[in-house]
């Protein structure tokens, strides 16, 4: 068996993985990146609308600063975020955008002078300042006080990923593409690398490293109907869950994006509404201002998706052979705008559903889009309970998003997180030594080889595609935007049964090479188990917070549930273990978000008492020592000078 060693092994070549790899390479660490696909095809490339940073160059962003960005992020999270991490993020986002400009991203920039725009459904003229001309500009996104989302047309993920990958090439960092990490190699609380399967020829290889970094993106495909790429099947979070010690956090926090197109579920960016697009119902009536008079179409995603669903439940949806939907209207933005700044959107609508947004309404409905939850890490990106394992990007729960992430904050998180966590990985790696225990590696590799043999040689068993479809059918039916005890109980029962059945899958074809059916079969147990964690976490959380919305518990309960769900699966044949930790230090006290329903149960404990218990309790749950103590990056009460302004 081949063994490949390096200082750092980065699993995932999207924006998060590549930025972290670059940070390590710049610190003279030998890095190898693994990816299921060529790096530029990673799902980061599909991000359209942009990334948030409080540069404040556009006139509609004037006066913006990291504190306001932080406030929006914490409110957006429905107070589920770790406020210190949100602060680290907001403080560094402007630097990250400028750095990407330095590396070559052709950001759209400020053009001085008057310009017609649409704000809250009405035409308006804004005048951009001369002194800001040529600096990175921004567009509006949901849940923000300022125009803050930096962009290159509606291909932001593409340009930023291409620029990042150019840098990877420049630094000579090898990317082993068409490789799938199947299992981490670990013992006694220390991670040593991963067992990997080549999707070119099926070879099983072990990669050993001083530090292992998981940056594998989201798991959206478990839902079937999702805006995510077809490779987003949760294989990275499954790596962590398989260890039995590393917890997945807040898996019940699933984001549904208001505008997936019908059919095909392809995303059209929030930038559409940011640029003035509006939502209409079956009567072509604009309903959002009735629900959300202030933010209208630009409330946070959880709120807009809920309102849309609510409105459809009132019989105001448009019936179609592909299910019910609403309309998005972009016609008033005009041809020029729709073929430049929203060109991908235009092309997607034309090619995939034959709708011309210049003249027609676009059929949309809320669609699974993003996972706030994921591998729980501390503020340095170090995984709970497993030394030498780091995680970042969508797969991680670093936790700046809590129970709802703001549009434009995820792409920004990958780059900021990569910059910050990448440095921490390098620091850790320099001090670490590599114990190349080949027997340990072989032991883990053998597990995978046995699994493969079993899948191929079982005389009879389940069909993997059928199981996959059953999982997504359950999630779509009972673990969607609105949840109830009844539905979630049905879902957990059904999913637990499927988890058992995944142990008896039969792969029809034994063709050597990538064997696509075998690849899916190797992932299915992870998909089923994560689906179960989503449903079970949702069933147990008897409140509504951000994207987790319980019809039977409509209040956000800060007294009982101002915490983060942690789920581990220590006995692979048993049931998972759930525990809860405090969300992190509170600086902004829990309050009303400024949009959505204001149904809350206040916390009885004082903020001081809540904060006091954080270091001890989080440590108990497995948080490893951070390079700086908890709280060093969270200046106290800076928000007080801004709250008036953001009203």
């Amino acid at each position: 068996m081949r063994v490949i060693t390096s200082d750092v092994l980065v699993i995932g070549a999207g924006l998060a993985g590549e930025r972290a790899a670059i940070a390590c390479a710049k610190e003279e660490q030998e890095v190898i990146i693994l990816s299921l696909v060529p790096p530029r095809r990673s799902h980061s490339s599909a991000a359209q609308g942009g990334m948030q940073a409080s540069l404040g160059n556009s006139i509609k962003g004037k006066g913006d600063n990291p504190t306001i960005h932080w406030l929006d992020t914490v409110k957006g999270s429905d107070w589920g975020a770790d406020q210190e991490v949100a602060r680290i993020f907001a403080d560094n986002a402007p630097i990250a955008m400028r750095e990407m400009a330095h590396f070559g991203v052709p950001w759209n920039t400020v053009e001085a002078g008057p310009r017609d725009v649409y704000i809250k459904g009405k035409k308006a003229t804004i005048v951009e300042e001369k002194e800001k001309e040529g600096l990175i500009t921004a567009r509006a996104f949901g849940g923000t006080a300022k125009w803050r989302t930096c962009y290159t047309s509606d291909g932001t993920g593409h340009t930023v990923l291409y620029t990042m990958d150019n840098l990877v090439v420049q630094l000579g960092i090898p990317v082993h593409d068409r490789m799938e990490a199947l299992q981490l190699i670990h013992a006694d609380g220390r991670c040593y690398g991963a067992v990997v399967r080549s999707l070119r020829d099926g070879e099983i290889i072990t990669y050993l490293a001083k530090s292992t970094v998981i940056a594998t993106g989201g798991y959206g495909r478990i839902y079937g109907e999702s805006t995510n790429a077809v490779i987003n099947e949760g294989t990275g979070s499954w790596l962590a869950l398989q260890t039995g010690v590393v917890p997945l956090a807040n898996m019940e926090a699933v984001q549904f994006h208001p505008t997936g197109i019908v059919p095909t579920d392809i995303l059209v960016t929030e930038g559409c509404r940011g640029d003035g697009g509006i939502l209409l119902d079956v009567d072509e009536y604009r309903f959002m201002p009735d629900y959300e008079p202030d933010k209208q179409e630009l409330a946070s995603r959880d709120v807009v998706s809920r309102r849309m669903k609510e409105h459809m439940l009132k019989g105001k949806g448009v019936k179609s052979p592909y299910g019910e939907h609403l309309w998005m209207d972009l016609r008033h933005l005009g041809k020029e705008h729709l073929t430049t700044e929203l060109r991908e959107v235009h092309d997607i609508c034309m090619y995939f559903i034959g709708v011309n947004p210049i003249t027609d309404l676009i059929p949309v409905r809320p669609t699974q889009h993003y996972s706030m939850g994921g591998i729980r890490v501390n503020k340095d990106g170090h995984a709970y309970n497993l030394e030498g394992l780091f995680a970042l990007g969508e797969v991680a729960c670093w936790d700046m998003h809590g129970f709802n992430r703001l549009g434009g904050n995820s792409l920004a998180e990958t780059v900021v997180g990569g910059m910050i966590i990448g440095k921490k990985v390098a620091e850790y790696t320099k001090k670490a030594s590599l114990k190349t225990d080949k027997t340990l590696a072989e032991q883990f590799a053998k597990k995978e080889q046995d699994k493969t043999a079993l899948l191929l040689n079982t005389p009879e068993g389940e069909n993997v595609y059928k199981l996959r479809d059953e999982i997504s059918a359950i999630l779509i039916k009972d673990v969607h935007i609105f949840r109830t005890e009844e539905g979630l109980t049905r879902a957990t029962d059904g999913l637990l049964d499927i988890v058992k059945r995944t142990k008896n899958v039969k792969v029809q074809s034994s063709a050597p090479g990538m064997n696509p059916e075998l690849s899916t079969a190797l992932r299915i147990e992870g998909m089923a188990k994560q689906a179960y964690l989503i449903a079970k976490g949702g069933l147990d959380r008897t409140e509504s917070r951000g994207a987790h919305s319980r019809e039977d518990y409509p209040k956000r309960d800060d007294n009982k549930w101002l915490n983060r769900t942690l789920a581990r699966w220590p006995d692979p044949d048993g049931e998972p273990v759930f525990t809860y930790e405090p969300v992190g230090l509170l600086d902004l006290p829990p309050g009303y978000r400024g949009y959505g329903d204001d149904l809350r149960e206040d916390m009885k404990m004082s903020i001081e008492d809540y904060n006091k218990k954080i270091p001890g309790e989080q440590k108990q749950h497995g948080r490893l020592e951070t390079s700086e103590p908890i709280g060093t990056k969270l200046p106290k009460e800076m928000w007080k000078s801004e709250v008036k302004e953001t009203k």
Binding site: H102, H158, P516
Partner: protein, 241 residues
């Protein structure tokens, strides 16, 4: 009326010793708005579990799924069967290394091109986290973006006569990449350096200018414009030498 589609698909698995390249036929019924992405997945899940092909974004954004569809290189995910006759022939893209059935190795080829062309901004400047970014005119940013939009699908190379004859030809995608960086004022490479890079038989001189690439590029990149921009730029250089 619902049609029955006949997919004739090229099959070959290089991991099987002595495997014979062949064409296999699969029949499926056509559903509304069916595209080649959904069709191939149905064929794989219902009829040919070992069928290899590549899709990632299934939204015409990532460039994974280029293949020859009835003789034309294009993106599978974006192709509706309703635009095609009942008989649909699928072949892998020529020019690139074959990985199996419809899957080819475009990733490695494009990484090679990036290395060869040093596809990054060449600058002596260090990044200063405290400093404002360099200003750029929005019109120029949009112009660079036009070339940056290439998704490295490889259709242009598959459709190019020169590329089939000269495997080291940079192709439209490679030339476009150079154009993108020449346009970018942040890149401090000199005209002489650009000249070295493109004025070879593998570069602009190899291109016969029939613009098959422009015709097949699924992102409708302004390839013609970029080529003439490079040619214009280069025509002034030898005089200076």
């Amino acid at each position: 009326m619902e049609r029955t589609l006949k997919f004739k698909i090229f099959r070959y698995n290089p991991n099987i010793e002595n495997d014979k390249p062949r064409v296999e036929t699969f029949k499926i019924n056509e559903t509304p708005r069916l595209n080649v992405f959904t069709a191939l997945n149905r064929i794989r899940e219902e009829q040919a579990p070992d069928l290899m092909f590549d899709f990632v974004c299934r939204a015409g954004i990532c460039g994974s799924c280029a293949m020859m569809i009835n003789g034309r290189p294009t993106l599978g995910c974006r192709t509706l069967t309703s635009d095609l006759p009942e008989n649909i022939e699928l072949y892998p893209l020529p020019f690139f290394k074959m990985l199996g059935d419809l899957s080819v190795d475009t990733g490695i080829w494009f990484r090679g091109i990036s290395e060869q062309l040093e596809s990054w901004v060449h600058t002596q400047k260090e990044f200063d986290p405290e400093a404002q970014e360099e200003r750029m005119d929005n019109a120029l940013a949009n112009k660079i973006y036009e070339s940056e939009r290439c998704i490295e699908c490889g259709c242009c190379l598959a459709g190019c006569a020169t590329a089939q004859a000269y495997p080291n030809f940079l192709g439209a995608a490679g030339l476009n990449r150079i154009g993108r960086f020449i346009m970018d004022p942040r890149d401090q490479r000199t005209d002489e350096e650009w000249f070295e890079l493109v004025s070879t038989d593998e570069g602009v001189f190899g291109c016969i200018g029939m613009m098959a690439c422009d015709d097949v590029c699924p992102k409708e990149l302004p390839l013609l414009e970029v080529f003439s921009y490079i040619r214009r730029k280069m025509s002034t250089v030898p005089l200076k030498r």
